[in-house]
């Protein structure tokens, strides 16, 4: 277990600069509450041309393309894309199991959530970055890049130890009345009750769910050998085990099966499954990996 490095800022200014040029991509059409900077699939009032359509009685005469009428002697309505805001929720698993690795998985989770949250803030999206569990209740809903300090402040205040199951955390989040939007769930999925119900709950809310599965090297390649008494840091459960190469091999197979299971579960439900190792550079993860996977552009 490694203590979180408090001295380094969560998001460096250079990184923030890169993020300002990016935007979150939603694969679903969400009706925004307020006009934002995001071009909606809905037609509306913006400067960006979208399409033409025939004029029908009752249409706003201001939208008739008179140049076209002069050429074709037919009335066409010129349609423009609507620009609206987007609801972006980032949920961070802040259980004790996230407090492993160097840097810790929790810090990496905060960085990823904070980075994407900042992307949303820059695009005037409604951004809410929250921890699962009680700490999530005090997470503010933010808008505009001026809210960055509040978001970072909240993230900095998060500490591991709120051991709530994924199911309970997501349920609590949904109960707060979060509407459709992009939901990024950053977790290690190490939940003995299973992650499936939690994800189902999010999908049921018609959210565009991105699942960032964070694993530390200690989990992918455990540095264990010999006779060990393994203690679960969350519930204190102990397992006595003699770690042999054979057992390690079995563990890796189990881990692979677990990842494959999560991946298959996600793809069946339209969830974007994003496995991330905690020792990968966060900038690289956000600017390259998440862009490739279509989370941002």
């Amino acid at each position: 277990m490694t203590a979180e490095t408090a001295t380094e800022p969560l998001l460096s200014p250079e990184f923030l600069g890169k993020l300002e040029r990016m935007e979150l991509v939603s694969r679903k059409i969400f009706r925004g509450r307020m006009k934002g900077e995001r071009i909606s699939r809905r037609k509306g009032q913006s400067v960006e041309f979208a399409d033409f359509r025939n004029y029908v009685a009752g249409d706003d005469l201001r939208l008739i393309d008179w140049n076209l009428y002069a050429r074709l002697d037919q009335l066409f309505l010129k349609l423009f894309r609507e620009e609206e805001d987007l609801r972006f929720n980032a949920l961070i698993d802040a259980s004790d199991s996230m407090n492993f690795g160097d840097p810790t998985k929790l810090r990496v989770a905060k960085q990823i959530a904070g980075a994407l949250g900042y992307v949303g803030l820059c695009r005037a999206d409604r951004v809410r970055v929250a921890a699962l569990g009680p700490d999530g209740d005090r997470a503010p809903t933010l808008r505009g890049r001026a809210s960055l300090p509040r978001m970072v402040g909240y993230l900095d205040s998060l500490r591991a130890g709120r051991n709530v199951s994924l199911h309970d955390g997501v349920k609590r989040f949904c109960a707060l009345g979060s509407g459709p939007g992009i939901t990024l769930l950053v977790t290690d999925l190490m939940d003995k009750q299973g992650y499936e119900t939690a994800l189902r709950m999010l999908v049921g809310r018609r959210m565009d769910v991105f699942l960032v599965h964070l694993l530390s090297p200690a989990e992918t390649d455990p540095p264990l050998q010999g006779d060990r008494r393994l203690i679960d840091v969350e519930d204190g459960e102990a397992k006595e085990i003699t770690v042999t190469p054979y057992v390690l091999g079995r563990y890796r197979k189990t881990l692979e099966a677990f990842i494959e299971g999560a991946k298959a579960f996600s793809s069946r439900r339209g969830i974007v499954y994003l496995p991330v190792r905690s020792d990968q550079p966060v900038e690289d993860v956000v600017t390259r990996y998440l862009r490739e996977r279509g989370v941002v552009r």
Binding site: F100, E219, G226, K239
Partner: protein, 696 residues
């Protein structure tokens, strides 16, 4: 492959069997597991979920450490069994190891510069190693006498200890004696002792005692059977009265043994393990004597015989010395089987001890040195009891005789006096001559009876006749230089002596002159008179002997041989280990015996007997002193051609069988326990390596 367990006690086996059980238990009760905090046991739980099925078997199957530890324990346990195999399967469970400890076994011709005796002991030790707990063996060593070092036992440690006690002698060998003893002992059921038992005595006496000396009838033999049934012991093959299985007789020798063909080895299956080489170089001194020259007064004649008793040509310088003085030297060069005489004449009358050394590099130094002494000049006390015998008195007063004897002449009536009884009992005289008379009680000395029987052990064999000499024994010292075919005897009678008497002169009617033993003394008897007293009282010659040249020679021989004057010039030589009757004046009661450059002993006379000396184990010159005066001297030499013939005999006669040598087919036990222990150490190293990889 066979196994010899190192443990005899059941508790030891229980303990051994418990070790792997404890190891397995410790694996399940393993207390020290390093606690480690991990993010979640979720995946680990899934991983070991199926491992928990058949957990016991899984742990055992997958645990390399446990496997290595059990392997190490198994190797150690197997090593405790002393696994090994013999080249040959041995037949019988009882064995007798007969170790030749005679002089020839001192020959150093082993590959590693070891003596034959050490080689034989090594081979016996190997055989002892091959024994199992059900085997029993006996260890006997022999030279000219046999000695049981360890009676039948199954305890290998005791056999090894007995083997350590075996000592080489410088004596000859008497195989028949040893075989008689061993065959008798093998007939008795052995008293098998458990390994480590405190005692395992047989009637021979315990280890360390010189139990089985010589007498076969006395120690071995059928009496053993009787005794064992008294003790109520029974052999495994039969109780008292039942038959005892034959035992293997393993003779470890170089084969330089007298044939022992007159024995029936009923209880033994003999095998002969030849020790030594069949090709060997050996020059030996087989005879050596020194004597004051009879013809040239003041000179000493030294005569030696050197023989090549090896199998190759040999030459060597021969050096004669006296103490540290080098006196003379010669050179011999001999082909195998040849011998040569060497004579030295020394003009040194002051010397009385000589050593002859063959400077040969042969493997048997014992026969390369010989010793000889000149005994001090000595006067023989002779008591002549005669009614008058001029020829005899003349013979005793010749120049040569007078020089070595002091004669006192008494009439036959002196025999009735107390004075005679006293000197007779004391053995004051060296020789008493009874001329036509006999004592009532025989004196404690040698006697010479003329025309009369000395005592009741003798008898006349027939009536008086005029005998004609038909044969006489030229080899006997009494008849040396004596020619008797011209002897005329007018009246004589044939003699019959006590058991073992020897006829020196045989006439047509029977033995005419004979000699017999009596309590260690010799009685010489003439069956005819020299001078006959006639009825008229006059005397008449009964023989023409006194007129012959041989008469004074015969009288001188009597003085030399019976009176002990012969030793007065050349010292006697004895084989090692033989008892010596010292020739000292009857007045001397205590003497000191000293070996040149060696030990010193004191010997006392037993009342009425001579002084015997038995510590003659080492070759050398021995001097007997009484006070400041040297009274006797003798030498001890090997002088045994059979011992000096070093070439290993290809076969020996054991009982009625001719047994060929077992050269090269020694049964040798090859053991693996050392390799097993090394393997166990290797496994332990591997176990430690695996452990440190896991824990570290």
């Amino acid at each position: 492959m066979n196994w010899i367990p190192a443990f005899g006690e059941p508790w030891a086996w229980t303990l051994l069997a418990a070790v792997p059980v404890v190891i397995v238990l410790m694996y399940f009760l393993k207390l020290r597991r390093v606690p480690v905090e991990i993010p979640s046991t979720y995946l680990w739980a899934k991983t070991i979920e199926d491992l928990h099925v058949n957990s016991l078997l899984q742990r055992l199957r997958r645990n390399l450490l446990l496997f290595l530890q059990l392997l190490a324990v198994a190797l150690a346990a197997i090593a405790l069994f002393r696994p090994g195999f013999r080249d040959q399967a041995e037949g019988r469970q009882r064995a007798v190891f007969l170790l030749d400890a005679s002089a020839s076994m001192a020959a150093v011709d082993g590959e590693a510069g070891t003596s034959r005796f050490d080689e034989a002991r090594r081979r016996i030790a190997e055989r002892i190693d091959t024994m199992t707990d059900t085997d029993s063996a006996m260890l006997v060593q022999f030279s000219d006498r046999a000695e049981v070092l360890q009676p039948f036992t199954s305890d290998r440690e005791r056999l090894r200890a007995a083997l350590e006690r075996a000592r080489l002698s410088r004596r000859g060998a008497d195989l028949a004696d040893a075989l008689t003893l061993v065959d008798g002992l093998a007939a008795s059921p052995d008293r098998r002792a458990a390994p480590g038992a405190s005692t395992d005595e047989s009637s021979m006496g315990g280890p360390g005692k010189t139990g089985g000396t010589a007498g076969a009838g006395e120690n071995g033999g059928p009496s053993e059977n009787g005794e064992s049934s008294e003790n109520g012991e029974s052999s495994e093959n039969g109780g008292p009265g039942g038959s005892v299985p034959r035992a293997d007789l393993h003779l470890f020798s170089d084969g330089g043994l007298p044939a022992a063909t007159e024995l029936n080895l009923a209880n033994l299956a003999p095998r002969y393990h030849a020790v030594g080489r069949s090709e060997v170089k050996n020059l030996a001194i087989t005879a050596f004597s020194a004597d004051r020259s009879r013809n040239r007064p003041g000179k000493v004649d030294v005569i030696a015989t050197v023989a090549n008793l090896g199998t190759t040509d040999a030459s060597a310088p021969v050096v004669l010395s006296s103490g540290d003085d080098l006196l003379d030297a010669s050179e011999v060069e001999l082909e195998p089987g040849e011998q040569t005489g060497i004579a030295f004449t020394l003009e040194r009358e002051d010397l009385d001890r000589f050593t002859l050394t063959l400077e040969s590099d042969d493997p048997f130094p014992l026969d390369d040195r010989a010793f000889a002494v000149l005994a001090p000049p000595r006067v023989v006390n002779v008591l002549l009891v005669t009614p008058g015998n001029d020829p005899l008195e003349l013979g005793l007063t010749t120049e040569r005789a007078a020089a070595i004897c002091r004669t006192e002449t008494v009439p036959p009536s002196y025999l009735e006096t107390d004075a005679f009884a006293a000197r007779s009992a004391a053995g004051t005289d060296d020789l008493i001559v009874f001329d036509r008379c006999r004592p009532t009680r025989m004196p404690r000395t040698d006697t010479f009876s003329i025309g009369e029987l000395p005592h009741d052990g003798w008898s006349w064999d027939g009536e008086p006749t005029t005998p004609l000499v038909v044969d006489f024994d030229r080899t006997h010292p009494l008849l040396r230089y004596v020619e008797l075919y011209s002897l005329l005897i007018f009246r004589g009678r044939a003699l019959a002596g006590p058991e073992g008497f020897r006829s020196l002169v045989t006439a047509d009617s029977g033995p005419l002159i004979a000699i017999g033993e009596r309590d260690g003394y010799q009685d010489l008897v003439l069956g005819f008179e020299i001078i006959t007293t006639e009825e008229s009282g006059g005397t008449q010659a009964n023989t023409n002997w006194y007129a012959e040249r041989t008469w004074p020679v015969f009288v001188l021989n009597v003085l030399r041989t019976l009176g002990g004057a012969a030793e007065a010039t050349g010292g006697r030589s004895f084989r090692p280990g033989r008892p010596v009757r010292l020739r000292v004046d009857a007045t001397v009661d205590e003497v000191t015996i000293r070996r040149d450059g060696g030990e010193r002993w004191t010997s006392k006379r037993e009342p009425g007997r001579g002084i015997d000396f038995t510590e003659t184990g080492r070759p050398g010159n021995y001097h007997v002193r009484s006070g400041e005066r040297t009274v006797d001297a003798f030498s001890v030499n090997l002088f045994d051609r059979r011992e000096s013939e070093l070439a290993t005999a290809p076969e020996v006669e054991l009982g009625y069988e001719s047994v060929a040598a077992d050269v090269g087919s020694e049964s040798r036990r090859r053991e693996f326990w050392r390799w097993l222990l090394i393997g166990m150490l290797g496994v332990l190293v591997a176990e430690w390596w695996v452990y440190s990889r896991r824990v570290g």
